[in-house]
């Protein structure tokens, strides 16, 4: 069972209700809209924020009114700009009785043109906030100012029945509106994404607004978001979906899904939501910082995944001699390419459009999740360079954590710097391993032989001829940075300098003013362009968050100086 786009169709589980869904292209610019034709009224749920969508709503509702003149009730699932902007811009036939209904908190936010709660600040074109009067204020905390009914033209009245949360099995506050012919609209207060979030049920359809995205990176932490409320709401929705009274769920963005799919999605989200304690709130400054971080993350992820994939392709060049049809590929290389290409093009298009910065951040988070899934396959670790795979995984996890607003860096455990660097240098030197015993032992097992050969080829360092000397001139060497993070940054710099042509590198530690320094010198000049300016910016940013720094100490030949954070360093870790 599904919903067709843009056509009238019977509402599943109802006798006389029809629905016309308008699915907007998924973005944070405009939401989906649902138009319902009932005997007693026409409902418009979330008009959205697009002129084109508004024209379509006007046409559809005008057509329905021509068949039978009825009041038009415009509802909001919540007050965000992408759902509410067009609420008072519908142009309907003269004499049409239009009534607007929303949660009391949404009505208040809109009335005072609250740019934070409506998220209007996200949009660079400074959109107008709809502050037209709300006729039906639902779920007011004291109940006193809440509508118990609406007076309509010709002396009619629309009754709104209240059912307190305490009397409901699902624990959700509920209101109901009779739609004629025994049909009913149920409204549930489902806070979490915003305090004013409502879900609507007609027949076997549940329209949920943005609740299904409430724990997503880039979404959680927006003004009005509340982890405790979200955690309280989700079991109620789960109960509704379990009751078999709902067959299809319609989110505020993207396509409808079955109740079973939504239930699984929300159960996963419940697990994620539990971890979202103390997340940093979103605001304009933080979003600008996240956008810059997304640009840097894109460069780093592109480089790491291109190297991972490239090493597999390089292996395939040699494997042809083994009579293979292709690689025993542990990665969906086309899928990875498609994810990164889509993100890159979205990011590039941003420069020439008025797309909100948060859209790029959310796109980056979607790409990061998809790439993490690609790395989750069992054979990835078996066939690919574990150092590269580990680095890629950590950068993806870092990005998602920072976008979510987790203060993950403050939990950084100290590392013993000399030991980390000594192991790193040993690992670089071990790349010239030529022991073929494993291969010889598998000569009669073609599949395992190819597996091992692929792993050896794909993990083969292209820097065999590079030497790295390590000078440990400072012995007491604990610093406030995790061992893996320090290893990742220094390894990436070494690889970048070697790939740019350096043949001899020198790594040394020393102390100055209570701070531990790591100096990395090459025998040639390595340009920022070769290393990737945004990748360097990412390492600088990460060290800066921790209270350290990265600087180019000398150009010719190139020397980088890494100032490691002190153990007690309590850096300002907010995204800037």
């Amino acid at each position: 069972m599904s919903l067709a786009l843009n056509v009238w169709q019977r509402v599943p589980g109802s006798r006389s209700l029809e629905i016309l869904p308008i699915f907007a292209k998924p973005s944070i610019v405009s939401s989906n809209c649902f138009i319902v034709s009932a005997p007693a009224a026409i409902l418009v749920i979330d008009p959205g924020a697009s002129d084109e969508q508004t024209r379509r709503i006007n046409d559809v509702v005008t057509g329905a009114l021509a068949v039978s003149k009825r009041p038009v009730l415009v509802f909001l699932t919540h007050c965000h700009q992408d759902h509410s902007q067009e609420m008072d811009r519908l142009v309907l036939p003269a004499g049409t009785d239009v009534r607007r209904l929303a949660h009391d908190a949404a009505a208040r936010a809109l009335e005072r043109s609250d740019r934070a709660l409506t998220c209007a600040y996200l949009y660079p074109w400074d959109p107008p906030i709809c502050n037209a009067p709300i006729h039906g204020r639902l779920f007011a905390p004291d109940g006193a100012c809440e509508a118990s009914g609406l007076s309509l033209g010709r002396g009619d009245r629309l009754e709104i029945t209240r059912r307190p949360a305490s009397l409901q099995d699902d624990g959700l506050g509920q209101r109901s509106i009779a739609l004629g012919d025994g049909e009913r609209l149920d409204l549930y207060h489902t806070p979490g994404h915003t305090s004013c979030s409502l879900s609507f049920r007609i027949g076997e359809l549940l329209m949920m607004g943005d609740l299904p995205f409430a724990a997503n990176p880039g979404i959680c932490g927006l003004d009005g978001w509340n982890q405790e409320e979200l955690i309280r709401t989700l079991p109620g929705i789960d109960h509704l979906l379990d009751s078999r009274e709902v067959a299809i769920c319609c989110p505020g963005h993207g396509h409808a899904v079955s109740a079973a799919t939504m239930r699984d999605q929300l159960r996963l989200m419940r697990e994620e939501a539990r971890d979202l304690t103390a997340v940093e709130g979103m605001n304009a400054i933080r979003i600008t910082g996240l956008k810059r971080y997304a640009d840097e993350f894109l460069e780093e992820a592109s480089a790491l995944f291109t190297i991972l994939s490239g090493r597999l392709y390089a292996a395939s060049y040699y494997l042809v001699d083994e009579g293979t049809d292709g690689l025993p590929v542990p990665l969906d290389l086309d899928g990875i390419d498609s994810t990164l290409t889509e993100f890159r093009r979205f990011d590039e298009a941003f420069r020439y459009s008025t797309t909100p910065e948060l859209s790029v951040v959310i796109k980056g988070a979607q790409a990061a999740r998809s790439l993490l899934q690609a790395l989750a396959r069992d054979d990835v670790q078996r066939l690919l360079d574990p150092s590269l795979v580990g680095r890629a995984r950590r950068r993806l996890t870092d990005f998602l954590s920072v976008v979510r607003g987790w203060p993950f860096l403050s939990a950084e455990s100290p590392s013993r710097v000399n030991s980390v660097l000594a192991q790193l240098v040993a690992r670089v030197k071990s790349h010239d391993d030529t022991d073929a015993t494993e291969l010889l032992a598998l000569a009669n097992d073609r599949r395992r032989f190819l597996d091992v050969l692929t792993r050896r080829l794909a993990a083969r360092s292209p820097f065999d001829q590079v030497t790295v000397d390590y000078v440990e001139s400072y012995r007491s060497s604990e610093a406030g940075i995790a061992a893996e993070r320090l290893d990742d940054i220094v390894t990436s710099l070494i690889e970048g300098m070697a790939a740019a042509g350096a043949r001899h590198l020198r790594l040394a530690t020393e102390a100055a003013n209570h701070q531990l320094l790591v100096r990395l010198s090459a025998d040639i000049t390595v340009t920022g362009e070769a290393l990737g300016q945004r990748r360097l910016a990412l390492y600088k940013r990460t060290l800066g968050w921790l209270g350290g720094s990265l600087e180019r100490e000398q150009d010719a030949p190139t020397t980088f100086l890494v100032r490691l954070p002190e153990l007690s360093q309590g850096a300002d870790r907010a995204i800037r």
Binding site: T306, S309, G310, A314, T341, E529, A530, L531
Partner: protein
């Protein structure tokens, strides 16, 4: 940003494929056919000019491997010219310079 333009230049026994634009999952197919066709030309030396390629993803690397394999079948090697530093860096890191020549 946008599309990849590919032009072919023949000079004596050398075929140079000039690419202009990003070589990624959306555009690599435009490079695949002309480059493989050049690689299949008997006795031709094949060069790929990357001077105007701002970005190359793994889809581009795949095309390079296929061309290098086709050339190896007749004892040839793919020659890359005017490679931007960050792309040369990736090629080195991925181990490509063991079977393609970077001028």
């Amino acid at each position: 940003m946008g599309d990849l333009q590919v032009t072919i230049e023949r000079l004596a026994a050398t075929i140079t494929v000039h690419a202009s634009g990003p070589v990624d999952g959306k555009t690599a197919a435009s490079l695949h056919e002309p480059l493989l066709e050049a690689a299949a030309t008997p006795d031709a030396t094949v060069c790929l000019d990357l001077a105007r390629v701002p970005y190359m993803s793994n889809a581009g690397l795949r095309v390079l491997v296929l061309a290098a394999q086709a050339l190896r079948a007749r004892d040839g090697r793919l020659r890359l010219e005017h490679v931007p530093p960050h792309i040369e860096n990736l090629l080195n890191s991925a181990g490509f310079t063991s079977f393609v020549d970077v001028a």
